[in-house]
């Protein structure tokens, strides 16, 4: 129905309703916008959009494991983020350009002698930037009269106002990649192997000397055999009653015993020779096994070293995780919704202890 066809009373009433609806919609929109802006403001504050930041850059050999948005650390805190990781030109002496921003107040820790360290972050080859606190240099950023000034000449101590394109270069201390470290470790092990082999060669020499000694002993024993034969001849002559001391001096039984003893001595010497030869063989085998063991130990230690090098930060990160979890739980304990779940049994106040006694031993 067209509006003109309505009665004036209906038109007036409809006009009031429309006004009320309009006011309500405006109010609702205002409330919605207020909520949205509050949310926006809160998010911006939480994310640090209002915090002043200063841009720094550095050059690295490789950009492996680094990407835009990764955190930059200082003394273990997240103090900024990586903004740009770009490869340099083919003719440039540097390989990779990395730009990052440090937020207030952490840029105050960065002086002209601060360094950018690149460390391994995880098992998967990830890396992160860590800037070090300055010690002897000049502060890279200065705040004067509400203006922020960036160090332009460290030697002269000149500062310039920070503009949109201002950035400060920090020197990078790039630890070699894990693979490079492993390679260096392998090289060290290779260099160490001649030493180990030298030791084994010396052991071999010692064993060879022992072998020669045993051979000499064998020869001596063989040389002693004619002596024994002569002794046997002499004793046979002595046994002869004609032209010798005769049986009254060396009786038959003693003569037999001497012969038996000498035969036993010969057998013993032969056994000793065999034992020494066996020992020689065993020593050679032991030396070979020792060499293999030393090689294995060398490999194990090199692997262990590589693991430790790659995971140097894992303990710190586990510790951080435990601390953060504790903070989370403590926060949950205080939350109005969850705190009733954490009401533990509290110790009752300590009182004077008196218990009734059963009569008897008194």
């Amino acid at each position: 129905m067209p509006l003109q066809d309505l009665t004036p009373e209906l038109r007036t009433r409809l006009s009031h309703v429309e006004r009320a609806v309009g006011v309500f919609v405006v109010l609702a929109t205002l409330l919605l916008l207020t909520g949205f802006f509050y949310y926006l403001y809160h998010t911006a504050e939480a994310k640090g959009w209002f915090i002043p930041k200063v841009t720094y850059y550095t050059y690295l050999r490789t950009g492996h494991g680094l990407k835009t948005g990764d955190p930059v650390k200082l003394m273990g805190f997240d103090v900024g983020t990586i903004k740009r990781v770009e490869a340099m030109g083919p003719a440039d002496p540097y390989n990779v350009f990395v730009e990052f921003r440090i937020k207030r107040p952490y840029y105050g820790y960065l002086w002209s002698d601060s360094k950018v360290q690149v460390a391994a972050a995880d098992f998967l080859g990830g890396r992160y930037l860590e800037v070090t606190k300055g010690v002897n240099g000049r502060s890279t950023v200065k705040e004067e009269d509400g203006r922020m000034l960036l160090l332009a000449d460290a030697a002269k101590g000149l500062y310039e106002p920070i503009t949109k394109d201002s950035r400060y270069e920090l020197e990078a201390v790039e630890s070699p990649a894990v693979t490079d470290q492993l390679q260096a470790m392998v090289a060290k092990v290779e260099a160490a192997i001649p030493g180990i082999l030298g030791i084994t060669n010396r052991i071999n020499d010692v064993l060879a000397s022992a072998n020669v000694t045993i051979t000499n002993l064998n020869v001596t024993a063989l040389g002693a055999r004619p002596v024994l034969t002569n002794l046997a001849v002499i004793t046979s002559q002595l046994r002869d009653p004609h032209g010798s001391l005769g049986e009254w001096l060396i009786p038959t039984n003693i003569n037999r015993q001497v012969q038996t003893t000498l035969a036993s001595a010969n057998t013993t010497l032969t056994s000793a020779n065999t034992t020494v030869v066996t020992a020689n063989t065993n020593l050679v085998e032991v030396a070979a096994a020792l060499k293999r063991s030393l090689e294995n130990v060398s490999q194990i230690t090199s692997n262990l070293n590589a693991q430790v090098q790659a995971n140097s930060l894992i303990l710190g990160e586990i510790s951080d995780a435990v601390i953060h979890t504790d903070e989370l739980i403590q926060g949950l304990k205080r939350n109005w919704l969850l705190k009733s779940s954490f009401t533990g049994v509290t110790n009752e106040p300590v009182k004077s202890i008196v218990v009734p006694g059963i009569g008897g031993s008194r």
Partner: protein
């Protein structure tokens, strides 16, 4: 068009309400380090006393006394002194326990802490009774009976009447003792102190035993044993077994049952390191075995008794 903003408004209001309400409470205030250390020492002492680790408890309570004294926290210092004295008493150091309890009582009197003062006095009564300081106990009872009893504290009344009943029994005033034990039992029952009520029942059984009311005594010891078993109270169980055995022996009925009770009681007292009670149980056991003409077993029990007495004398020296 109309409903959409309403839904938005509702959601927004709900969000704002939830956001405000979900905010966390501030963390609780942190106690000063010295207070926390003193409280920790007292708490550790309490746990050690509860587990009957007396030598360690003495050390911790002394630590708590020193720390509270440094903080000039006299109320807690008095509590720590009292509990230190109780640990000393458990170690048999009665000469050390008495002055400590006196100190605690003085502090509580200065502070006007009447209930704590009564606790100190009851503990002093127990220690002086153990030390067989008859004159001191008599003087203390005279002082305490003249003082207004802590009516607001039935538990303290029960404890006091229990001690008073035992004193009256020792003095041979069985009628008064019976009345006093009844009042003690009523007070204990009123506070719901099952352990205290069981102890008073055991003392009443002992009173019946002293008056040669053997059937009553036997019944009460049986009830006391049941209560101590339900409370898992080893000293009470051992005392009830010994009492039951003694009464059966005195009545001359069911001597094998009496022997069993006395044997178990003697063994329990050995485990609890209560040598006086063990000696009494062994003495009754010897009598029981002789009555049953078990000569060799009686000789064996007699030998154990003599060995115990010899050891006790050696330790006393």
């Amino acid at each position: 068009m109309f409903s959409s903003p309403s839904v938005f408004c509702f959601l927004l209001s709900a969000f704002c309400l939830l956001y405000t309400a979900c905010s966390s409470a501030p963390p609780p205030p942190v106690l000063p380090v010295a207070v926390a250390q003193a409280n920790r020492a007292a708490e550790t002492g309490r746990k050690l006393s509860a587990t009957e680790n007396w030598s360690a408890a003495v050390r911790e309570w002394q630590n708590a006394v020193d720390r509270y004294r440094l903080l000039n926290d006299r109320a807690n210092e008095a509590i720590a002194l009292h509990n230190l004295a109780q640990a000393d008493r458990a170690l048999g150091e009665l000469d050390r326990a008495c002055p400590l309890l006196e100190q605690a009582a003085d502090l509580n009197q200065q502070l006007g802490r009447n209930e704590e003062w009564w606790r100190n006095q009851i503990a002093l009564l127990q220690v002086e009774s153990l030390a067989k300081q008859t004159a001191a106990v008599e003087a203390r009872f005279a002082k305490l009976t003249a003082s207004p009893t802590p009516d607001a504290q039935p538990q303290l009344q029960g404890l006091f009447y229990n001690e008073l009943g035992q004193w009256q029994q020792r003095q041979g005033d069985f009628v008064k003792a019976d009345e006093t034990f009844r009042r003690a039992e009523q007070a204990m029952t009123k506070t719901g102190d099952r352990s205290g009520a069981a102890v008073v029942l055991a003392n009443r059984a002992r009173l019946d035993e002293a008056q040669h009311k053997l059937p009553d005594a036997l019944e009460k010891w049986g009830q006391a044993l049941t209560r101590f078993e339900s409370l898992a109270d080893p000293p009470g169980i051992a005392a009830s077994l010994a009492g039951e055995g003694r009464v059966l022996l005195a009545a001359g009925q069911n001597l094998p049952a009496a022997e069993t009770c006395l044997r178990r009681a003697a063994e329990n007292f050995r485990l609890l390191k209560k040598n006086d009670d063990r000696a009494a149980a062994l003495r009754s056991l010897v009598e029981c075995l002789v009555a049953q003409k078990k000569t060799s077993e009686a000789n064996e029990a007699q030998r154990m008794l003599e060995e115990l007495c010899t050891t006790g004398k050696a330790k006393g020296n």
